[in-house]
C-alpha cells in the first residue's frame, strides 16, 4: 500500500458534526479524487479537538496546520491550495486574538500550549470507528501487557501506585477501589463504566467515547482481569446518539478481532461488554442509583454500605468507574505508574479534562495537568473573558459544586484545594461568568436543576431543596428578608448532613458558596431591591429619559402590553405597573433614551 503523504483530520465530535463536518470530509475526499490524489492524501473523521468555539476544525498533518470554522465549500480550496500547492489557506487559519496575526499551526496556539492530553490523547488523532487505527496508536498493547506479563495483583498495584483518582467527581483512589472489588469473592463479578454524564455544560465523557471508544473498552477489560470479572457494562444515556453509535461499532469490532469474548489474546481470560441505556436522569450518575437503573428498577440510590464492591449489580461485587478514569488506564499500564505520578500535585496525580463554557473566548474541551491555576486556564488557554469584560466567577462541579472567584485565580486546582474553597472537582464542567451574571440567579438556576432531578426518595432532598428554591425565588423577586439568608444557610447545612446520596449532600453547595463569596449581592437584592447584573427582571425598571426622548412613538407602538404612554413629539413615560420588562422598547429606540435601572 502506498504511504499517505498527508493526512487531513476532520473533527467528527458532536459540535463539529452539527456544523456539517461529515459534508466537509466528503467534499475533501471528492476534491482529492478529482485531482487524482486519493491515494496520497488520507481524510479521517476523528474525535473532538476540543476547540469547539471555532469549529468545524480541519487539521493537516504532519505540518499541524489548524483550520478553523471550515465550511463544506472550503474543501476545494484546501485541496487546491494546501494539498497541491503547499500554500496555507490563510483565511481559515486561527487568528491570535491579541496580535491579530494568523497562527500557522496548532503548536503555536495559546489554546494548546498549556494543555497535556493524556485521557484525550487519541481524540482528534485517530478514526474512532476503525479499530486498526487504535491498534496502530499502541491500542490494546496495555491489555496485552497485563494479560501476558502481569498478575491481577500487579495490575492493581500499578494503578494504586499511579495515584489515579476517580474522575467522575468524588476523587476516590481508583486502585483502592479495584483492590476492594478484587477481594470480594463471588461466582460472577461486574465491571461498570459510568457514562451517565449529567452536569449542565459538561461533555468530557461524551467526547472521549466519541473520539476514542476503544480506550474505554481496553481499560474495562483490564479492570475485569484485575478484579476477576468477566462481564462489563457501559451505562450511557440514550441522549448521546453519536457516542452510542461509535461505542457499538467499537464493541462489534473488538469482538470481531477477538479482543472481546473468550480466550482474549490466548490468555484464557474471557470478557465481554454490553451497553445499558439510561433515560437521562442526573441521579443515575450516583453509582447505587445507576446499578438499580441497570437492573430495571427505579433509578434511586440506596444507602452505602453495602458498597457496590461488595454487593452491586444483581447483588454481585461490582466496580464502577467513570469514562475519563478508564481513559487514563491503558497509558498508565504502558508508561508505568512512575511516569503518571510525576504529573500533577501531591495528592492529585495526572491531568483533568474540563469543559470550558460560558463567557469565555475559547469555549471547548481542555485537558490540563492537576495543579494548574484558574488564571492559566481562563486567560491563557481560554483566551480571556468574552468582549474583554471583567471576570467574576467560575462555577466548577456543576450543581454539586460551588463558585471560585477572583481571589481563587492563583490557587492550584486539584481535588483537595477545590473542596477547601467550598467547591468540588465534579466531573469537570467549568462555567465562566462575567459581571453580567447575577450570582443569586445562578444559584437559583442550579437549584432548579436539582429540584427537577431529585429522585424524591429522601425528605431532605425532595422537600428541602424545594424550600431553598422558593426562598431564592422570593429574593430574586425583591421580597427577601435578611432572615432568609440565615434560613438558606441553616437549611443548606441540614440537607448536606442528612440527604441519602451524593446528589442531595451536595445540592446546597451552589447557594452556600455564592452566599459565602457574594454576600453583598444577596444583601443588595434584599435591602436595595437591586440586581447589579441586570438579570433579575422583577428588580429592574425600564425608564425613559425625558431629555433624550423626542416623542417618535416607536417604543409605544412596539410595546406588546401598551405600557408606554405619551403625546407625539413629547417625552413618553413607561407605566411600571403594566411593564413586563421584555426590552422591546430599548431595541426600537434610536435615541438611546431608554435605560434599565
Amino acid at each position: 500500500m502506498a504511504k499517505f503523504k498527508m493526512h487531513l483530520l476532520v473533527c467528527g465530535g458532536t459540535g463539529c458534526h452539527a456544523s456539517k463536518s461529515q459534508e466537509i470530509a466528503d467534499n475533501l475526499k471528492s476534491s482529492l479524487k478529482d485531482k487524482g490524489l486519493e491515494n496520497e492524501v488520507q481524510v479521517i473523521l476523528t474525535g473532538c479537538f476540543g476547540f469547539c468555539e471555532k469549529g468545524p476544525i480541519v487539521k493537516v498533518m504532519p505540518d499541524n496546520t489548524f483550520y478553523t470554522e471550515v465550511k463544506p465549500q472550503d474543501a476545494a480550496d484546501i485541496v487546491a491550495e494546501h494539498v497541491i500547492k503547499g500554500r496555507k489557506v490563510t483565511r481559515l487559519l486561527y487568528t491570535d486574538p491579541e496580535n491579530k496575526q494568523h497562527v500557522a499551526d496548532s503548536k503555536h496556539m495559546g489554546f494548546y500550549k498549556k494543555q497535556l492530553r493524556i485521557a484525550l490523547r487519541n481524540c482528534g488523532f485517530i478514526d474512532p470507528q476503525n479499530i486498526e487505527e487504535y491498534i496502530g496508536a499502541d491500542g490494546y498493547s496495555a491489555l496485552a501487557k497485563c494479560l501476558g506479563e502481569m498478575t491481577p495483583a500487579q495490575v492493581i498495584n500499578e494503578i494504586k501506585l499511579s495515584g489515579l483518582r476517580g474522575r467522575g467527581g468524588g476523587g476516590f483512589p481508583t486502585g483502592l477501589k479495584w483492590e476492594i472489588a478484587s477481594k470480594n469473592h463471588a461466582d460472577q463479578k461486574y465491571v461498570v463504566c459510568n457514562a451517565d454524564e449529567g452536569d449542565p455544560g459538561a461533555f468530557m465523557d461524551r467526547s472521549i467515547l466519541e473520539g476514542d471508544p476503544h480506550t474505554v473498552l481496553e481499560a474495562m477489560i483490564i479492570n475485569g482481569y484485575a478484579i476477576g470479572a468477566t462481564k462489563g457494562l457501559v451505562y450511557i444515556r440514550a441522549e448521546y446518539p453519536l457516542a452510542i453509535n461509535r461505542l457499538v461499532i467499537a464493541i462489534n469490532q473488538a469482538r470481531e478481532y477477538g479482543l472481546l469474548g473468550e480466550d482474549i489474546l490466548g490468555s484464557g481470560f474471557n470478557f465481554d461488554i454490553e451497553i445499558r441505556y439510561g433515560a437521562g436522569a442526573f441521579v443515575c450518575g450516583e453509582e447505587t442509583a445507576l446499578i438499580h437503573s441497570m437492573e430495571g428498577q427505579r433509578g434511586e440510590p440506596t444507602f452505602k454500605p453495602p458498597f457496590p464492591a461488595e454487593s452491586g449489580y444483581n447483588n454481585k461485587p461490582t466496580n464502577v468507574n467513570n469514562v475519563e478514569t478508564y481513559a487514563n488506564i491503558p497509558i498508565i499500564i504502558n508508561k508505568g505508574a512512575n511516569w503518571f505520578n510525576k504529573i500533577g500535585t501531591e495528592k492529585s496525580k495526572g491531568t483533568k479534562v474540563f469543559a470550558l463554557a460560558g463567557q469565555i473566548n475559547n469555549v471547548g474541551l481542555i485537558e490540563v495537568p492537576m495543579g494548574i491555576t484558574l488564571r492559566e486556564i481562563i486567560y491563557e488557554i481560554g483566551g480571556g473573558i468574552k468582549g474583554g469584560r471583567e471576570f467574576k466567577a467560575v462555577q466548577t462541579g456543576g450543581p454539586s459544586g460551588g463558585c471560585l472567584t477572583k481571589k481563587h485565580l492563583d490557587a492550584p486546582i486539584d481535588y483537595d484545594n477545590l473542596i477547601a474553597v467550598g467547591s468540588m472537582m465534579g466531573s469537570g464542567g467549568m462555567v465562566v461568568m462575567d459581571d453580567t451574571s447575577c450570582m443569586v440567579a445562578i444559584a437559583k438556576f442550579y437549584l432548579e436543576f436539582t429540584v427537577e432531578e431529585s429522585c424524591g426518595k429522601c425528605t431532605p432532598c425532595r422537600v428541602g431543596n424545594k424550600r431553598l428554591y422558593e426562598i431564592l425565588e422570593k429574593i430574586t423577586k425583591g421580597n427577601g428578608t435578611m432572615e432568609d439568608l440565615d434560613n438558606l444557610r441553616n437549611l443548606g447545612r441540614v440537607i448536606k448532613d442528612t440527604a441519602l446520596c451524593g446528589l442531595g449532600q451536595t445540592s446546597p453547595n451552589p447557594i452556600l458558596s455564592t452566599i459565602e463569596n457574594f454576600y453583598d449581592e444577596y444583601v443588595e437584592h434584599i435591602k436595595d431591591k437591586k440586581c447589579r447584573a441586570g438579570v433579575c427582571k422583577s428588580l429592574m425598571q425600564y425608564v425613559i429619559d425625558p431629555v433624550q426622548c423626542v416623542g417618535c412613538t416607536a417604543c409605544a407602538r412596539n410595546c406588546p402590553v401598551n405600557a408606554i404612554k405619551g403625546e407625539k413629539k413629547m417625552p413618553h413615560i413607561i407605566d411600571q405597573e403594566l411593564c413586563i420588562k421584555c426590552g422591546a422598547c430599548i431595541e426600537k429606540c434610536k435615541f438611546n433614551a431608554i435605560s434599565i435601572q
Binding site: F4, P62, G86, F125, I135, Y140, L265
Partner: protein, 130 residues
C-alpha cells in the same frame, strides 16, 4: 476477518497499520528532521513530486525518521526543485536543483551525518514572524 489470537498477532497488526498513522505521529513528535519540499507550479513542473516520493520511500527504507511537508513557492524558481532541510536544533538549509541523485546525496550525507553537500542556496530573506 482476521482475528487477533495472541500478542504476536496484535504486534503484526500494529505493524501492518503503522503506515496509516505514522505521518500523524511524526507531526506530533518533537525533534525530528524536517524536510520541506517546494511544491508550487514551478517546483511541480521541475519534478518536486518525484523527489518527494523518492525521499519519503528512501528515508523509510533506510530506517530514518523524517517528517516531510509540502510548502509553497520558496522564491527560488531558478533552482527548482528546492527542498529545505531542518536538522533538530539547527538552522534550516535550502538545497536547489535537487534531482534524484542529489536527493540521495542529501539523505546519505546531510540528513544522516550532518555533513554539508553542494547545492546550498544562501538565505537571502528574513521572515517576519520570528
Amino acid at each position: 476477518m482476521t482475528k487477533i489470537k495472541s500478542l504476536a498477532d496484535l504486534k503484526a497488526m500494529k505493524q501492518s497499520v503503522q503506515d496509516k498513522i505514522d505521518t500523524r505521529q511524526k507531526g506530533n513528535a518533537e525533534g525530528l528532521t524536517q524536510v520541506k519540499v517546494a511544491m508550487a507550479t514551478c517546483g511541480i513542473a521541475a519534478g518536486a513530486k518525484q523527489v518527494m516520493d523518492y525521499m519519503m520511500a528512501e528515508t523509510e527504507k533506510r530506517g530514518m525518521n523524517v517528517v516531510f511537508t509540502q510548502t509553497g513557492c520558496m522564491g527560488y524558481c531558478h533552482a527548482e526543485p528546492t527542498i529545505e532541510v531542518t536538522l533538530p536544533g539547527k538552522e534550516p538549509i535550502v538545497f536547489g536543483y535537487v534531482d534524484l541523485k542529489k536527493a540521495d546525496e542529501i539523505i546519505e550525507k546531510y540528513i544522516r551525518d550532518g555533513e554539508l553537500v553542494d547545492g546550498i542556496i544562501p538565505v537571502n530573506y528574513q521572515t517576519i514572524n520570528k
